[in-house]
């Protein structure tokens, strides 16, 4: 634990600088690139709106906001997890030349994605204003839910990073699992449309479904999230993160031998 804090202290500036540099590099490629940070979720929102409203004829209040909230949280989780499986390999140039605590790589990636998510949240706010979604004080729950999302994502990433080094085709498996999770998370439909026992189970066992549902509750429906489950997932997030960090501390020195 102490080692973790020291490492974070020593390297967080690097992580921030490097994250900024990554974002800059993306923009430097072409001047339109930053537009994709907005266009990408926007286009997916339109696709899902088409599928849900035209094909399945579902009626959900404030549907664009509903989808966008789901996509914002999902994208963050999805991109972090996908990146973390291959992250050590992709940073081979650094890892094989210098010692760096390996979770700093995840931290750096998460900063990049947090920034992109931030843009996405701004779009949510704009949409909320456009569609005149009423708001309440419950919106303050936004922060604890975000923290929980961050912890769960970070924890999952550290553990997957470890196994991603030793198992070559883990990335393929994770892709399939993520696809399945995507459909079981209710990004473009209300998860309560699934028959009764299953929808509750999903909402309780799938942390992303729970988090997205909580975001929607506070942003669209002016209610508060389930305190109990938010607390449970928060603690589970901390446990996941600690386990992941412990594993990395124990094995990170052999990573450079494998890649």
């Amino acid at each position: 634990m102490k080692k973790f804090i020291n490492n974070i202290k020593r390297y967080y500036k690097y992580a921030i600088y490097s994250a900024k540099a990554d974002l800059k590099a993306e923009v430097a490629g072409s001047y339109l690139n930053w537009l994709w940070w907005i266009l990408d979720p926007l286009c997916f929102m339109l696709i899902y709106m088409f599928i849900a409203e035209v094909v399945f004829k579902s009626k959900v209040a404030y549907f664009p906001v509903f989808v966008f909230v789901g996509l914002t949280a999902w994208d963050y989780f999805n991109k972090n997890v996908t990146a973390s499986v291959k992250i050590v390999n992709n940073n081979r140039a650094i890892v094989s030349k210098i010692y760096i605590p390996k979770y700093i790589l995840i931290l750096q990636k998460s900063f990049v994605l947090l920034f992109k998510m931030f843009i996405s949240w701004i779009l949510v706010v704009i949409l909320m204003i456009l569609f005149r979604v009423p708001i309440s004080l419950n919106i303050l729950w936004f922060i604890p839910i975000m923290v929980t999302l961050y912890l769960i994502t970070f924890g999952a990433c550290t553990i997957l990073m470890h196994f991603g080094i030793f198992i070559e085709d883990l990335a393929n498996i994770i892709q399939i699992v993520l696809k399945l999770t995507f459909y079981l998370t209710g990004i473009f439909y209300q998860i309560s449309r699934i028959p009764k026992p299953y929808s509750t189970i999903l909402l309780r066992l799938n942390p992303i479904a729970f988090i997205i549902d909580s975001f929607r509750k506070i942003l669209i429906y002016q209610t508060h999230p389930s305190y109990l489950f938010l607390g449970i997932w928060f603690i589970l997030g901390i446990i996941l993160t600690s386990v992941g960090i412990a594993i990395i501390h124990k094995y990170e020195n052999s990573y450079a031998k494998v890649i």
Binding site: R10, K13, Y14, Y17, S18, A21, D22, K24, A25, A28, G29, N91, A93, I94, V95, S96, K97, I98, Y99, I100, F166, I167, E168, D169, L170, I173, N253, S254, A256, K257, V258
Partner: protein
């Protein structure tokens, strides 16, 4: 003056074993369990480098030189034995410390510097010196991917040479760039080395360089120390051995 050790290595063993990559697809098709491959790259070497001294490491390809250097840099931990750096900061000077090809040279200076544990302000102070030394001129503001391989290594050398750490590990970089830069980096090396506080470990195949720069030479053979001592003696033996 009291002799102070900067690096102490005791019975260092490094093995590449069992931790081979594993693929679920492959293990489906190959039900027989593959044999665990063990390869001992470094087998029990011990040495000590005094503060301010220069140690050269020679040996044929695959004798464990780079592995030793990487272990010193902390990239892998020893499987057996110990490495004590006595609290000195260390950097491995090797071609291109993880440059980001899409970023400019200048941004990469900061990234590499921060990876080596320097703060932004410290790097800022040295930035000009690095750019001057690397002599890549206008290119410093262009993405690293547009650099020629010579410029790339020049910049890498300049970063580690100017951002000084207590211990420098050098892996075959004295042959960087064109003739002029080679001479310049060679002189810079000498200057860095003449600093009494800096300890240097050089891996090289160039006998001339080692003879001139080092205080002591370590000859590795198949992961073990074949000889350690004064450069002239060791290098002579080595030459005889290699031409045999």
């Amino acid at each position: 003056m009291e002799k102070e050790a900067a690096i102490t290595v005791k019975g260092l063993h490094i093995t590449y074993r069992g931790i081979k990559k594993f693929s679920i697809k492959k293990s489906f098709f190959k039900l027989k369990k593959g044999q665990r491959e063990t390869f001992e790259a470094v087998r029990g070497i011990s040495f000590e480098v005094e503060k301010g001294k220069i140690l050269g490491i020679i040996g044929k390809n695959g004798s464990g030189k780079t592995t030793t250097l990487r272990a010193l840099a902390g990239i892998f931990s020893p499987d057996k034995g110990e490495i004590n750096l006595h609290g000195n900061s260390i950097s491995l000077l090797s071609i291109g410390v993880g440059f980001q090809p899409k970023l400019t040279g200048k941004e990469n200076i900061y990234l590499s510097g921060m990876l080596l544990g320097f703060s932004e302000e410290e790097i800022k102070k040295k930035e000009k010196e690095i750019i001057e030394f690397a002599e890549i001129g206008e290119f410093i503001n262009r993405p690293v991917k547009t650099y020629s391989s010579g410029m790339y290594s020049k910049l890498a050398f300049a970063i580690t040479a100017i951002l000084e750490t207590d211990i420098m590990l050098i892996d075959e970089v004295l042959s960087v760039g064109d003739v002029k830069f080679k001479e310049k980096s060679y002189n810079k090396m000498k200057e860095l080395i003449s600093d009494d506080n800096r300890t240097v470990v050089i891996v090289s195949h160039s006998l001339g360089t080692l003879r001139e720069l080092c205080d002591e030479v370590l000859w590795l053979h198949n992961g073990q120390i074949k000889m350690i001592g004064k450069p002239d003696e060791v290098l002579k033996e080595y030459e005889d051995f290699m031409t045999k």
